[in-house]
Subunit: 140 residues, 2 copies
């Protein structure tokens, strides 16, 4: 079911500081910052040959990553996102096998405008997994 | 400096259970388990088109991930590994800019037999970054 790794997301307390560190210390290729207002985050992409890291800081009043930053004030690794071909089928199959979808269980529109869902980290050893529907994104 | 993402490592309390979840729930392509005795871990690779996740459980008495599992009994995301061309140059450049290398600061032999180092997560917003020297692994 899961296909390409779309991104690995990291939460940071100060996006500009973090982006400068990745650029200046690690020599990383970084994007300009981008506010995703509907998702309550401001992000910078760290692009590499075979994938990308998303550095994120909370934006606005009700950011979904504010709680993570309260628990981890320094920041940390937040989630990994895999591409799938058909998120409806993925959800059906996962729920049939007992995995839980976060929130109201419905497919949402993700930060890239594609349908996404997040799986409950309690079902995957504390690892938060996002699935994103991308054309030809999965293995079936 | 940093090149390909070599792997994203996750610590799990029970490797066999976790590997079965990734295989059966997520339909992931997983490897057979492998004990890396010198590194104090038992691992399974979750292979996808553009990268791999390493699921790891502690192995032996002095596993370097035992402490992580004590702090996070459920498991969680542990580190991200980037490839570089020349780890000696990478270390020199990073230390010159104030980043700290974990342990005795020396380059070690990593789980894949290549020279590796780990950067101090306090210098990178709580994110543990491994650098691994792979021929033609970096951007310079």
């Amino acid at each position: 079911m899961i296909g390409r790794i779309n991104h690995i997301a990291m939460v940071v307390p100060d996006l500009d500081v973090a982006a400068a560190q990745w650029r200046d210390l690690l020599g990383a290729d970084i994007s300009a910052p981008n506010i995703l207002k509907d998702h309550g985050v401001r992000i910078v992409l760290v692009r590499s040959v075979n994938g990308q890291v998303e550095l994120m800081e909370p934006h606005g009043e009700k950011s979904p990553i504010a709680g993570f930053l309260q628990r981890n004030p320094e920041g940390g690794m937040h989630h990994i996102c895999y591409e799938v071909n058909d998120i409806g089928l993925a959800r059906q199959s996962l729920e049939a096998k007992g995995a839980r979808v976060l929130g109201d269980g419905l497919v949402q529109t993700g930060a890239h405008g594609n349908p996404v869902l997040f799986l409950h980290p309690e079902d995957f050893n504390g690892i938060l997994i996002e699935l994103e529907q991308v054309s030809a994104g999965g293995t079936e």
